[in-house]
């Protein structure tokens, strides 16, 4: 009885130490990436190449998802607002929920599963096939050559993807609300413009997506860099990337919303 109890406590301790160790390693990894990123700006085509695989290839999923989220918002918002006779507020409802929350959050979740998992798998496989060790042998810093360009590509493309998501979502809401259901077009846009503030809503959404982009990219890169160099190791790291970054996005979103939008 007592030995199993002690064993359980020991297991908890081991897991806690492991978790703290990993957080510390990830933070150290983050700072190393920042330190070595000077080189990747000098060789900008490395970032451009990664921008293609993280940003351009995520475009389709982001645009399609944004369109449908906006259309659903239009439908559901109309059904709810109609009860209070305020269908004209549909535009401001759709725009505010997209710009403040859904744009940054859903785009970041899609980005984590589309681009983040790919990054982890790529770097994990590079490690498993000893490409990273080979680079070290050739005195090429793998963080500067592999990690930093991917990091900056993620940080740059995330706000652009979130803005695209919101813009396409507003168009989707417009399509359903105005063209299909027949909400007045003038009140749709004017109520939206009256409700959405550039600094308070749009810029805060951009800041949110910058934070999410940084966190998702660094989690994906760290998991890949830290993955055990086996087939199972890489697959486990890919799964952990999606799970950890999704949870991080949702928790950080709560914290950021509490800081940004309290009292307004």
């Amino acid at each position: 009885m007592v030995p199993t109890f002690i064993e359980a406590i020991r297991e908890t301790g081991h897991r806690s130490i492991n978790a703290v160790w990993r957080i510390g390693m990830a933070t150290r990894f983050f700072f190393l990436t920042l330190v070595y990123s000077g080189n990747s700006f000098r060789r900008f085509h490395l970032i451009v190449k990664e921008l293609f695989s993280t940003g351009v290839l995520s475009l389709i999923i982001i645009v399609v998802a944004g369109l449908f989220v906006g259309m659903v918002l239009g439908l559901q918002g109309y059904e709810t607002l109609r009860r209070y006779g305020s269908e004209s507020a549909l535009g401001s409802m759709v725009a505010l929920s997209l710009v403040r929350e859904l744009g940054p959050v859903v785009a970041a979740l899609l980005f984590a599963s589309r681009a983040g998992s790919a990054m982890t798998a790529e770097i994990g496989l590079m490690k498993a096939t000893e490409q990273i060790s080979a680079m070290e042998m050739m005195a090429v810093n793998p963080i500067a050559r592999i990690v930093a360009p991917r990091f900056w590509a993620g940080v740059i493309s995330m706000p652009l993807l979130a803005a695209l998501f919101s813009a396409v979502g507003v168009l989707g809401g417009y399509f359903v609300g105005v063209i299909q259901i027949g909400v007045d077009e003038g009140s749709f846009w004017s109520q939206m413009q009256a409700a959405v503030d550039f600094r308070d809503d749009i810029m805060n959404g951009v800041i949110k997506s910058l934070v999410f982009g940084t966190v998702v990219t660094i989690i994906a890169l760290f998991e890949g860099y830290d993955a055990p160099p086996t087939a199972e190791g890489v697959s486990g790291a890919t799964t952990r990337t999606v799970v950890t970054s999704s949870l991080a996005i949702l928790m950080l979103d709560f914290v950021l919303t509490a800081i940004m939008f309290r009292g307004t």
Binding site: L160, M192, V196, D197
Partner: protein
């Protein structure tokens, strides 16, 4: 992939992202609708501002002419001091009347300006002397109930 095609696609992506941001700012947000660059500040005391909030609109004849920039309590007079910034294009006489109104039955509160007949115009930092406070629904209802109670029962 060819370097130039890569650059082209990334260029399209970046331009589309920036265009989306610009569309959000101009078409969805309020950046394109109201330019607050040329403004002048005036302030006014109200005994009660009700539900008026900073950034509420200021209208004259239904036209948006400015925004409320700040609401503070003046502890000398125990009245609300409302700071407003008005568009430079719209000049108002010194004896302009400011009242807190509600758009619709449950809508937002805003400040309505009714110009007076003075030949002198309001300048930066001036005070609007004549004001009317917000209508507080509770006070109105309690007054109504009080009047009903003091009426003689069953006037026949």
């Amino acid at each position: 992939m060819e370097r130039t095609t890569l650059d082209l696609w990334v260029g399209i992506f970046v331009v589309a992202g920036i265009a989306a941001l610009a569309m959000l700012a101009m078409k969805v947000g309020n950046l394109g609708t109201y330019d607050m660059s040329e403004t002048y500040q005036v302030h006014a005391y109200f005994t009660n501002v009700g539900g008026l909030k900073p950034k509420a609109s200021i209208k004259s004849a239904g036209v948006l002419v400015g925004r409320v920039t700040g609401i503070t309590l003046d502890t000398q007079r125990y009245e609300a001091d409302v700071e407003m910034s008005l568009d430079k294009r719209y000049q108002f006489p010194k004896d302009t009347f400011a009242s807190i109104l509600t758009s619709g039955l449950l809508g937002e509160q805003y400040i309505g300006l009714v110009p007076g007949g003075d030949s002198e115009m309001l300048k930066n930092g001036d005070q609007i002397k004549m004001t009317q406070s917000a209508v507080v629904l509770e006070n109105l209802i309690s007054k109504f109930i009080y009047n009903k109670a003091t009426e003689p029962a069953n006037p026949k």
